[in-house]
């Protein structure tokens, strides 16, 4: 990529920063309200561990709470919040006409916007999350091995790319159907339950876990957290990272394919 090309997307990134920052109160409220279910989760697990009186699949109360804190942080970092609605609106209202004439890839344009939105979102939601981490500081254990940080970072980046490509591919459905929200919510519910948002995947029965490991949802959120907590090591870790890399390539190809086919179908409404 030449420097002029990079410059172009840096200015898109800047515009994205400013656009997102306008809605900081919206994001801040979302982050604050997001703490309510966390409270419910904490109390529920406290009651469960109290009843059980011991560990559960290698988790104790502290590490379980730590797990949910990490999902909060990681999902802020990697999960797109409004991108699918914006892309779908661009297509439905004919806004992408103006991109077709510009010397710019729509995918790269959206990705720059995605990056800037994640940055602002994380920055705005960091203070409340930092306070929560401070409150639960006794449960926090950092990995001792430096390589764990490297693997976590790699997995985290792949998760972010994957989530973006999946969101992008879904939003491309707006080329064919008017209302994509049902499809988005169906995929979202799979992500919520099979991606580790609701509960850690590794408390499920082994047979179920074996299937989940081959599904993309596992790698959208759970994988980087499991690596960071040291729950994936050695051969398992290598396997996870390679499956994640494969899903990353597949989702990238899906994103490009959907865009190509969508454009072929596109009739430039409005404009």
């Amino acid at each position: 990529m030449t420097s002029a090309k990079i410059y172009k997307y840096i200015s898109v990134f800047n515009i994205g920063l400013q656009n997102t920052f306008v809605y900081r109160w919206n994001y801040f409220l979302r982050a604050i309200f997001g703490l309510i279910p966390l409270a419910g989760t904490v109390f529920l697990w406290r009651a469960i561990f109290h009843e059980r009186g011991g560990g559960l699949h290698g988790y104790d109360y502290g590490s379980m709470i730590y797990y949910y804190l990490l999902t909060l942080l990681v999902s802020n970092l990697v999960t797109p919040t409004e991108d699918e609605w914006q892309i779908a609106a661009d297509i439905r209202e004919g806004q992408i006409n103006s991109f077709l004439t510009k010397p710019m890839s729509y995918l790269a344009y959206r990705f720059s916007i995605f990056l800037s939105a994640r940055l602002v979102y994380t920055a705005v939601t960091l203070p409340p999350i930092a306070l929560i981490f401070l409150y639960f500081r006794h449960y926090i254990t950092l990995p001792g091995d430096a390589m764990t940080y490297v693997y976590t970072l790699i997995s985290l980046l792949m998760a972010a790319f994957m989530q973006f490509f999946i969101t992008y591919s879904l939003a491309m459905m707006a080329f064919w159907i008017l209302e994509i929200s049902t499809v988005v919510f169906i995929v979202y519910s799979f992500e919520y339950f099979l991606g580790g948002q609701m509960f850690p995947i590794d408390i499920m029965p082994p047979a179920v876990q074996l299937v989940m490991k081959w599904l993309p949802f596992y790698y959208e959120l759970f994988c980087p957290i499991a690596i960071f907590m040291g729950r994936l090591q050695g051969a398992e870790l290598a396997q996870a990272l390679s499956i994640q890399a494969s899903w990353l390539v597949v989702s990238w190809m899906a994103a490009r394919f959907m865009w190509k086919r969508g454009l072929g179908h596109y009739q430039a409404v409005g404009g």
Binding site: L29, F43, L44, I48, I186, S189, F190, Y192, F193, I203
Partner: protein
Amino acid sequence: MRRYLEIYSIMLRNSLIRELSFKANFILWMVVEVLWFCGQIVFFSIIFGQVDRIGDWTKWEVVLLVGTHQMIAQLFQAFFFVNVANLPELVRTGKLDSLLVLPIDSQFAISTKQFGLDSVINAGLGGVVVCFSLAQLGLVPSAMSILLYLAALVFGVAVHYSIMLSLAAVSFWIVRAQGLVYGYFNFLNIARYPDVIYPRVFRFVFGWIIPVVIIANIPARILIKPLGQPAWLMFHLIAASTIAFWLSRVFWRFALRHYSSASS
């Protein structure tokens, strides 16, 4: 009052016609809700693979609780959710004007425009789960507790409505308040857990001030725990939901005074 009933029946008919003309969408929304509901049940069955009970709640009692909450939440979604959730958008675009000039109560006008048949069907599904859990528990509730249970469901819907209306009314001050709608879903989240898990202060705040914890817990307790005190539970639910409803109406009126139309 009769006039309002007439207006409401016309709106119901209109939204039914509209809904049935988008059949695919209708079915897909049902799929979304069924997935969420099943996910909840799976979550609790995983937990009850590890423990026998949570406080005084056993597995099928918790499933009944989740089913009860499903009924209440879906009834609320059927009659009010889309309308109230749309308020921030009405405020932002200035389309609220056309509703305010109608010769009917403004709160009624914004709350009752659309109706979702898919949610009614999903509420029915919640009812099936409740009946199934009762069978698993080997319980046959008395006619009196069933009657109290059904009445309690209505008060639960009122709590949902009050919370959603209050959140949406904040959009008179903050433009683009979709975050507030997410707030509603977050409150909903803690409503379907058994009440015993919460510490005392938490239970007071979310039992009286923002009474989400009692929405499903009290109806479920009335139905399956005959040794409890149904009179006191019912009083608690009626009092807390009435206060919440009244406060949300006061807040709505106060917020409305801050409305400056966005359109020309």
